[in-house]
Amino acid sequence: MNGSKQKSAYDRMVKRVSPKSEKPKSLCKAFFVGGLICAIGQGLKDIGVYALGLDLEDASLFCSFCLIFLSALLTGLGVYDKIGKFAGAGSIVPITGFANSIVSPAMEFKREGFVTGVGAKMFQVAGPVLVYGITSSVLAGVLAHILSLLGR
């Protein structure tokens, strides 16, 4: 029996039979829900600036706090996973998705204790984002510094 030939023939069969994700539909859903979350964020920022009299930087922080809180609350109420099922990347990419990725394992692993469960597993999903996010920001900072020295 020719193993690899059989396997690639099977791969083609699997590809033909497996249902495809409906890309245009998924993209539209992601675009509108993601856009809606960002619009809410902008609204919160405007509240910060115009109603609370914060400067731009503090208003941005206020906006992030509110969004994180709302996402954590909706995760706890069991709503955010339903939004995510509908919107896909639209609700994963904004900061609310990041909050959801930390709150959901914290909830899931509470039964294994606060140290060995919640503490150890909380960054199970978000961990890689933090590691590579911080690493790349350090590298970008170093690069920016070198460029600024060269440009002087």
Partner: protein, 337 residues
């Protein structure tokens, strides 16, 4: 010994151990599906009032075994063997259930093929005279499987349409050496591990279909039977994708499966439930066999059933390390005598 062995992978059981009783417990979603009338118990709450999902799964299995014994009017001390397993690490649901039941216990791991694996071993042990009653049982729980194999429940992620939904449910079959009951385990085929190089853990049906086709071919060859011998051939949890692939693979070998072939993963949920490619998990074939299928045999609507539970023998570690997914399928032939 020669008299019992047929071909490379199969055995016949001359004493034909009987099914004395069977029982099934299904979760809430399964209880809303097309097979809802066939389950003995549908739980209202998937936690079963327990503090953790793992405890709920263990409880579901233990309760289903107890229910099965009660239906037969048999006490725990009258059962010689408990053969069972589940999907969790170290098969804790089965061993923790066995802790309470106090029936001599052999833990099995065959992933989602466990129902067939336990049945064939139970029947073989009874046929060999190593006991007079054996209870074969398995279970799975959506929420324990998710946290072990995938993501936290509340994480807002999407699944591709080929993904399957782990069934919350437990099934138990009580086998007896006494020939006083109508449904018999007549022969079985032990599956080989088959791997066609599939790596997508969101498409388990595709990983397992070649194993199911391989076992079916082996069974027919070893037993010398035509496909038409069986009224019904059932696979465990191939789902929509694996079901289509199984048909195609068999067609290539000149076997037109036709109406007699169904899959528990396709039958347990309706498309309206929005659970993508269908059900999976040890519980999927266990509740379908110990509900729908054995009830049909009792009524004489199926006289010869080839039950083939299918398993994907992966772990989260092997998937992360880029290994392909090996599949297995065991076949058990059940007949109304």
């Amino acid at each position: 010994m020669q008299a019992k062995r047929m071909g490379r992978q199969s055995c016949r059981l001359p004493s034909r151990p009987r099914v004395q009783a069977f029982a099934s417990t299904a979760g809430k979603k399964e209880g809303e599906g097309p097979l809802r009338e066939t389950f003995d118990v549908v739980v209202k709450d998937d936690t079963l009032g327990e503090k953790s999902w793992e405890k709920a799964e263990k409880r579901m299995l233990a309760d289903t075994v107890t229910l099965c014994l009660n239906k037969a009017g048999v006490r725990e001390e009258d059962v010689d063997l408990f053969l069972g397993g589940d999907l969790l690490n170290q098969i804790v649901s089965a061993s923790f259930a066995a802790r309470g039941l106090q029936i001599p216990f052999l833990g099995l791991y065959g992933a989602c093929s466990t129902m067939a694996e336990s049945l064939l071993l139970g029947a073989a042990l009874l046929d060999g005279g190593f006991g007079s009653r054996a209870v074969c049982a398995t279970c799975s729980h959506f929420s324990t499987a998710e946290r072990q194999y995938r993501f936290p429940l509340e994480l807002g992620n999407q699944r591709p349409p080929s993904a399957q939904w782990t069934v919350t449910g437990a099934g138990a079959t009580l086998l007896t050496a006494k020939p006083d009951f109508p449904i018999a385990v007549e022969s079985f085929t032990v599956g080989r591990v088959v791997d066609f190089g599939q790596t997508d853990e969101n498409n388990m049906g595709a990983a397992m279909a070649p194993a199911a086709a391989d076992t079916l071919l082996a069974h027919l060859k070893d037993s010398g039977r035509p496909l038409e011998y069986y009224d019904r051939i059932v696979t465990g949890d191939l789902g929509q994708v694996g079901y289509a692939l199984m048909r195609e693979l068999c067609e290539k070998e000149g076997l037109a499966l036709g109406d007699r072939y169904t899959d528990c993963g396709c039958d347990i949920f309706s498309p309206e439930q929005g659970l993508l490619a269908g059900g999976s998990g040890c519980g999927c074939s266990a509740v379908t066999l110990n509900g729908h299928l054995l009830r049909m045999m009792e009524k004489g609507q199926i006289r010869r059933l080839l039950f083939m539970a299918t398993g994907a023998l992966l772990s989260p570690t092997t998937t992360l390390q880029g290994e392909s997914i090996p599949g297995i399928a065991h076949a058990v032939s059940l007949e109304v005598v």
